[in-house]
């Protein structure tokens, strides 16, 4: 079976590290980016199968990143990770596949990722 690649985009290094560690335990291949601009760069190098995206970030935030991604023709599913209360609304706004409200735990993360990966 082909390895599933996930890109974690968040400006908080500790969040990236935590999320990455959880995904790696479950056998995903993880790449990290600190903001939208870095993420676009990483995607150009090697497109992932799924993007975990923080919304409030310096340089290029979640909205700008998502619209730029779609403009470039990438259909990669996005999972929004946000500490804001209206996570669901934002997910709809950028046509994300799902959302995770911070703080989320191990099971929340893995279930959401699995759901998006293989919608049954």
């Amino acid at each position: 079976m082909r390895e599933v690649r996930i890109l974690v985009v968040d400006d908080e290094p500790d969040i990236r590290a935590t999320v990455s560690a959880m995904l790696e335990i479950e056998g995903y291949a993880v790449a990290e980016a600190a903001n939208g601009a870095d993420a676009l760069h990483a995607i150009a190098q090697r497109p992932p199968d799924l993007i975990l995206l923080d919304m409030r970030m310096p340089v290029l935030d979640g909205w700008a990143f998502a619209s730029e991604l779609r403009r470039r023709g990438h259909e990669t599913p996005i999972v929004v990770m946000t500490a804001a209360r209206d996570a669901a609304r934002w997910a709809t706004e950028i046509a994300a596949a799902a959302f995770l409200s911070k703080p989320f735990g191990y099971d929340d993360l893995i279930h959401t990722v699995q759901q998006v990966q293989s919608p049954s």
Binding site: E12, D14, I15, A21, I25, A83, R85, P103, Y106, L109
Partner: protein, 636 residues
Amino acid sequence: MTAIELISLVNQLLFVGLFVVVAWRAVRARSRATFDTALLFGSIAAVLGISRLAAAAEIVESAAIIGVLLLLLNLAPYAMLRLVDDFSGTPRWVQVAGAAAYLIVAALGFTFQVAPQLVELATIAWFVAVGGYAATAFIRESGRTRGITRHRMTAVAAGVILFIGAIVTVLTGALVAPANPVIGILGQVAALAAVLSFFGGFAPPSWIRRVWREPDLRNFIERSIHVVSIADDRRAIVELQQAAAAAFGATGASIGLADEQNGRLRYPDAGSGWLEYPDGQFIAGQAYRQQHRVVADDAITADPDHADVYAQNAARAVIAGPVTAGDRRIGVLAVFAERAPIFVEDDLWLLELVADQAAVLLEARMLAADESRLRGREEAARLKEEFLSAAAHDLRTPLTVVLGQAELLERRLARDPDARIDQAGVSRIAGEARRLRDLISELLDAQRLEQKGAIGERTRTDLRLVIDAVRGRHLEHDLSLEVAEPSGPIVCAVDRKRIEQVVDNLVENALKYSAEGALPEIELTTDGTDARISVVDHGIGIPEAERIRIFERFYRATNAQSITDTGMGLGLYICRRIVEEHDGRIWVEPTPGGGSTFVVKLPVAGVTRDPAVEAAVIEPETRPATGPATEAMADA
């Protein structure tokens, strides 16, 4: 009936009618002026009545009757003389001489049959002298007054002149050309004009009153309408007072606002504050308590307890009335003047209208204030909401790390109880837990500082000690801050711990946003009235458009977010609140050559300052920038 008989009959009816009106008023409102008015028209009416009766009884030629008639007729000028005194005051000797002259002229009347021409000459002289004097006085008085009083005074003066003219014409005619009918007609016509003028002066019908009063009321409405839009209560009341005084042509007016709960009235004072008195105090307070108008021709006699206040305000006469809107008691309006009102019922009528108009304006102001209070409460609720939501947001991020890392450890241990401890994961948990603790205490601190009086006891403190303490704490971390301070103490009354917190916070910020090893400097200076603590850094600086907003709650400079995302944007807000609670100011200016300089200005203890000057001096840096700041807000 001939024309002259008809005019004569009309005249007689009008004079008697006027007498009835003024006599009735004299009974209802007893004063010297109403009595003298009744005396004037009483004498004329009596002359007319007695002559009619005498003519009917055909006893005209009786010496006694003629004497009585002359006695009554000559009483009219004497009553006029007394009215002059009532309206504008005359020297005492004028009154005494007038009374003596009247007695002589009246006594002469009983010698009519002996020397009729002498008596007639004496009567003419008496009328011309006293009538002329009275007319002059009334004309002068009308020039001094305004509004309806002026109109009425002019009518009185015209009445006096015409009446004198009529009497003199008839008496002169009897002397010179007894048989000439033209003189009789002239006399009757002049008398008719006189009685009509007197009606205008002493008992004007209501439609004339309305016409004469209208300009005063219009004047008041025009002058006072804008008080609805004046934000400051005190200024609005002062303007209303001035408009009321102008409408009355009075020396001044005073408006007291009622506080029904504690039964007090507050009046604007001469300075910038309010004077509060229990209701019932002063003539105005009495009018408020009785909810009825009060007239005091002599305020000092009426309310001797406050004689000094009335004297100070040149308030010899005071009229006061309640200001009410429906059942609601808003306050009281008092108008004061150097002299008692001449036609008090007109002034009371105007007082009532002005008070009603004032009530409408004050009510409108209160509604506007209620609305802005409501808006203020909504704004406070919105801020609270924003605060909670921002707080929740900032707490969730570290909590994500704590929860995720803890669950990771849990799983690893479950899989393999002997697994090596994930050192980095444990450090992350500890680090984020500390961050949570700091955020929460920052949050609580900011919340506490929202309320006034969050500052502890202020003690006289040498600010050099504050700076030494901050410097000492950084020395423990091997950071040697450069400090420039004077050799003598700079003493301010401060909550020392709070001011240390401010300086600590500014130094922490400076370190955070400066390159590694670039230390901030602290400067302490004073100009005698204020102390300034400046924290000078050479870091990334703050974009000009954001130099005010960074002191707002939850605001973080755009270029600060890329450096560290650990703050909630409350640090500078907390600093600002602390400094403001100390009556100081905080602002930021660029450091020449790059970086930011945060300046804290605190008042030096024991220096008296003029609040007006204080308010006028606004630091240029703290003045709200209009353009860029507003745009930034719209973007946020």
